[in-house]
């Protein structure tokens, strides 16, 4: 096995990292959000899948060029699962890019209650082993 930097997505410490997911995490550390594209039928996925859901062929990672999205739905988590209880309250949002691809992440800079349809922009954060994408308003 080659030497890989130990990275975790978001706010968990899940160690189930595959080579494909490791490539995603390392790109994320460079502030690049990667989607995946099927090498056979061209279907695109966000978050990325290593295998195409339609033809099960291998997918390759490719950088998302879209940075702006709209809020599709949200929740304010006041009572969190134990692993995230130190962060509560936090806002989880589904953002929808103009292409229709969606991404689920925290909105980290809200000053008021979110509203469905409001504009979001893609942001990044990295701290020690943690890397993540996030939504900004």
């Amino acid at each position: 096995m080659s030497e890989h930097k130990e990275l975790y997505l978001g706010y968990s410490t899940d160690k189930a990292v595959t080579p494909f997911f490791q490539d995603f995490l390392e790109a994320l550390e460079q502030e690049k959000l990667m989607k995946s594209k099927c090498t056979s039928c061209g279907a695109e996925y966000l978050p990325p899948r290593q295998h195409c859901q339609k033809c099960l062929s291998e997918c390759t990672l490719t950088e998302m060029t879209e940075k702006e999205a709209k809020l599709y739905s949200y929740v304010v988590v006041e009572f969190a699962p134990m692993s995230l209880s130190s962060k509560q309250p936090y806002v989880v949002a589904i953002g929808e890019f103009p292409s229709g691809l969606r991404l689920t992440a925290h909105i980290t800079n809200l000053m008021a209650m979110p509203e469905v349809g409001m504009p979001l922009r893609l942001g990044f954060e990295a701290k020690e082993k943690m890397v993540t994408y996030k939504w900004l308003v």
Partner: protein, 388 residues
């Protein structure tokens, strides 16, 4: 041609925070009324003894423990798991075995013990039923998945929290009349609207309970039914469905696609329509889930569920009585037991055996159970017919 199969008996433990019992004692409590009725262990050919999550009780291979404890030695048993639909998935599997002729008489028992861990830990375990790579790292708890549906429903249809509060008031109104309920108390509209936030827009009274409990039913093939009862409840329609794993991947958040799929299949198999159904037990793990169920099951048009609530058509004397036992909200939600408990309640209503006339539904000849797992990844719909 498959044999017809009927539910012939049932039993139900007290639901609640049961620090006096573990899965084995809860299972015995649910099975005892069946044995007392004369359906003793020697009459059971095989069983499905299920719970959704072994993390809660810490007991592995639990069906072996339960089968032994309740006296089913030597007879085949197994566990079926599919999150909160574990109970009806077990019933669906057992139906298949009996309909096919493998067995004549089967016990289906669902149980869950959830209160041996803290609420935060229970919330943690349930969040691990989301996508571990892409959802879990963002702390999307179980209520959070349904809150994402609620936010979207509010935005698309202009619904306010008042509608959800009215559903909670109804659930507690009936739960207060159910001696097996976990939280048998009435709540006011103001309390339901102003409770502490859990996952906004959902508050405490929008959420089902973390409950310990068990429920059991016995099913039998048509040629054996008469040995056990003159009031069989026939399994007339079964539908099952599934929805996308990640909630963000769904085309709509104001409906559960797998529930519509399951309902259509169940109606088709039963040869009935939504208007024929006299009562429904729906999966109200959250108030928004009950609202969406009205629409997915065809009791209301899309976006019109709030009108059904406003007109109290969901009460025991209304057009389509729903969860007149308190539902998951007030009766409680021991994951693996829930689908079996719903089935038990339909049988009870059909037999006119509700404890109280103010929760007894009149003349139930067709009843429906709608049981949803996770945030719609599993769905089972059953239609039952009165056989007397």
């Amino acid at each position: 041609m498959a044999r017809r199969v009927a539910v012939v008996a049932g039993g139900h433990s007290k639901f609640g925070k049961r620090f006096d019992a573990t899965v084995r004692e809860l299972s015995a409590e649910a099975f005892k009324p069946i044995v007392d009725e004369g359906i003793t262990q020697d009459k059971i050919d095989a069983s499905i003894l299920s719970y959704a999550a072994s993390q809660f009780s810490g007991q592995g291979a639990g069906s072996a423990l339960i089968a032994d404890y309740i006296g089913l030695q030597n007879r085949p048993h197994m566990r079926v798991e599919s999150a909160c639909t574990t109970g009806t998935a077990s019933l669906r599997a057992a139906w298949g075995m009996v309909a096919a002729g493998l067995y004549d008489v089967m016990l289906v028992l669902g149980v869950e013990q959830m209160n041996r861990v803290s609420s935060a830990m229970a919330t943690e375990y349930m969040s691990q039923a989301g996508d571990m790579r892409w959802e879990y790292p963002f702390g999307i708890s179980f209520p959070a998945f349904y809150a994402l549906m609620a936010s979207r429903y509010m935005s698309e249809y202009g619904m306010t929290h008042d509608t959800l509060a009215k559903i909670a008031v109804k659930s507690h109104h009936y739960g207060a009349q159910n001696p097996k309920a976990h939280l048998p108390k009435e709540i006011t509209f103001e309390e339901a609207n102003n409770a502490v936030a859990i996952c906004s827009p959902l508050n405490l009274y929008d959420c089902s309970l973390i409950t310990d409990g068990a429920a059991a039913v016995v099913i039998a093939s048509e040629d054996r039914v008469k040995e056990f009862t003159d009031r069989p409840m026939w399994i007339k329609g079964i539908g099952a469905g599934a929805s996308e794993m990640m909630i963000q991947d769904r085309a709509s958040l104001t409906s559960i696609p797998g529930a519509k799929y399951a309902a259509n299949a169940a109606y088709k198999m039963a040869g009935v329509e939504p208007k024929d159904i006299k009562m429904a037990q729906v999966h109200d793990c959250f108030t928004i889930a009950e609202l969406i169920a009205y629409e997915d099951l065809g009791f209301a048009e899309p976006g019109k569920g709030p009108e059904l609530v406003e007109n109290k058509e969901n009460y025991h004397d209304g057009r389509i009585p729903v969860n007149c036992d308190g539902g998951l909200k007030s009766k409680g939600h021991p994951l693996g037991a829930t689908g079996v408990s719903m089935t038990y309640e339909v049988m009870k209503q059909m037999r006119g055996e509700a404890e109280n006339s103010s929760r007894q539904i009149d003349d139930v000849d067709l009843g429906l159970v709608h049981n949803v797992g996770q945030s719609g990844q599993f769905v089972n719909v059953f239609i039952f017919e009165r056989g007397w």
